[in-house]
Amino acid sequence: MRIKQHPVLTSIVKKEVEFTFEGKTYKGYEGEPIAAALHVNGVRVLRHDHRPRGFFCAIGNCSSCLMEVDGEPNVRVCVEELREGMVIKMQEGKGKLKGGEA
């Protein structure tokens, strides 16, 4: 859920973009971290590494949030900015390089 009213923060108008996650289309704001856009759409599980994993630090330190973005595995989606048309996939294990073998 996005914060609509806040005593300190003021919101600025952002551009809405579309992206896909696991083949389904979602909307988010351009430039926000991919993990934030997914979270607001109710997606908390970002990858499976025998166990479900989400983000933990949100600033690019811990590598808990690795996903496949536009065919590239191991992208830290807590710091990678969302762009129009991005194809985002849940990562299994170490991921597949450009659609190849894991």
Partner: protein
């Protein structure tokens, strides 16, 4: 290969203040940050700072970030490299980095390392489930990106970060079910604790988390009481209906790059773990390598800013810049002492003493 007089690694409060101080004396500075913009963790601090006017007391962290960024950007002696990750610092003084997608190298006369700290994990069953977030992550999501982390939160840690982030969660309309802490005492300032208590959030001391509940993500938490020996008391287990478990259990200095330099480190728990030995100028045991901020010891952003200034002035002075720098430095060193005075600064004071410098 590029060359700079002072390379500063990390564009948070310490690094920005170091850059401003050094360039203010006439030194040429290159300031590196891996993020898209400067500010470090100040950009998510919506609360007003303590300390004195010189450390921007009464101003919110997010506004301090803007003030410092503006000052850095208008200074022609400071070359800012954002979206740039330092990869290594070699013995011959070569620093390698990735700027955007390009691999590059630079040498420097002096280097100030201000890489900050990272959040600590806590051991409990299911601590890897999505929905277990660091307190800093919750702040980033909420205060930087305007998104709430969930509906009902269990906060672990009643230090200042746990208390402040709990209050910020409530400002964003999120329910904080409880704040728990293994210690029998509340670690944070009374003023912060009173604020959340007044809003009806129970602060349960001598309590810990046993496990997170849920299959794919957090659906609850089991907490229990601890006895005076910090052992779980049987029969006190309680289930909480939460979808977020927020960990505010401390920070560790991010010292990977520091270790590349070969400087001596010492284990001082009160300062956050392995921290570098340093002199009064904040120079490490390696000539020309300085430290400032949470990398030097985990503390407040206010002291990080003062340390940055001291390190920046010292590095500029060692290159022959400026006049009366030692007088200026003395005044900042006394500011740092006053930030660390009283009962709240005791841990840092004794830690620095143990460091033997």
């Amino acid at each position: 290969m590029l060359h700079t007089e002072i390379a500063i690694i990390g564009g948070g409060p310490a690094g920005m203040c170091a850059a401003i101080a050094a360039a203010g004396q006439g030194a040429r500075v290159t300031l590196f940050d891996r993020g898209k913009k400067l500010g470090g963790q100040l950009v998510k601090q919506t609360h007003r700072f303590f300390g004195s006017e010189k450390e921007y007391a009464g101003i919110r962290g997010i506004d301090i970030a803007k003030i410092l960024c503006d000052e850095v950007e208008k200074n022609k002696l400071i070359d800012v490299k954002t979206d740039t990750t330092i990869l290594a610092i070699y013995n011959d003084g070569v620093i390698t980095y990735e700027e955007g997608k390009n691999y590059k190298r630079i040498t420097s006369e002096k280097t100030i390392i201000a890489t900050g700290a990272s959040e600590k994990m806590l051991l409990f069953e299911n601590n890897d489930l999505p929905g277990v977030y660091g307190a800093g992550a919750v702040q980033t999501l909420m205060n930087e990106h305007g998104i709430v982390p969930g509906n009902k939160v269990l906060m672990i840690g009643a230090g200042n970060i746990g208390l402040i982030v709990s209050y910020q969660l409530m400002q964003a309309g999120v329910k904080v079910e409880a704040i728990i802490d293994a210690s029998p005492n509340i670690g944070g300032y009374l003023v912060h604790a009173s604020k959340v208590k007044r809003l009806g959030v129970p602060i349960l001391t001598s309590h810990t988390i046993k496990r997170a509940l849920g299959k794919e993500s957090v659906e609850g938490a089991v907490i229990c009481e601890l006895d005076e020996k910090w052992q779980p008391v049987s029969g006190t287990e309680k289930e909480l209906d939460v979808d977020v478990i927020c960990l505010a259990v401390g920070l560790s200095p991010q010292s990977e790059l520091l270790r590349h330099t070969g400087c001596e480190v010492k284990y001082v728990p009160g300062l956050g773990g392995y921290v570098p030995m340093r002199d009064g100028n904040l120079q490490t045991t390696v000539n020309g390598i300085y430290v400032a901020g949470d990398t030097a010891e985990v503390e407040e952003a206010s002291s990080a800013m003062v340390e940055g200034t001291i390190a920046g002035l010292s590095a500029a002075e060692s290159l022959g810049y400026g006049k009366n720098i030692s007088e200026l430095k003395k005044s900042f060193i006394s500011d740092l002492d006053s930030l660390r005075s009283g009962a709240v600064g005791e841990k840092i004071r004794s830690g620095i003493q143990k460091l033997g410098c």
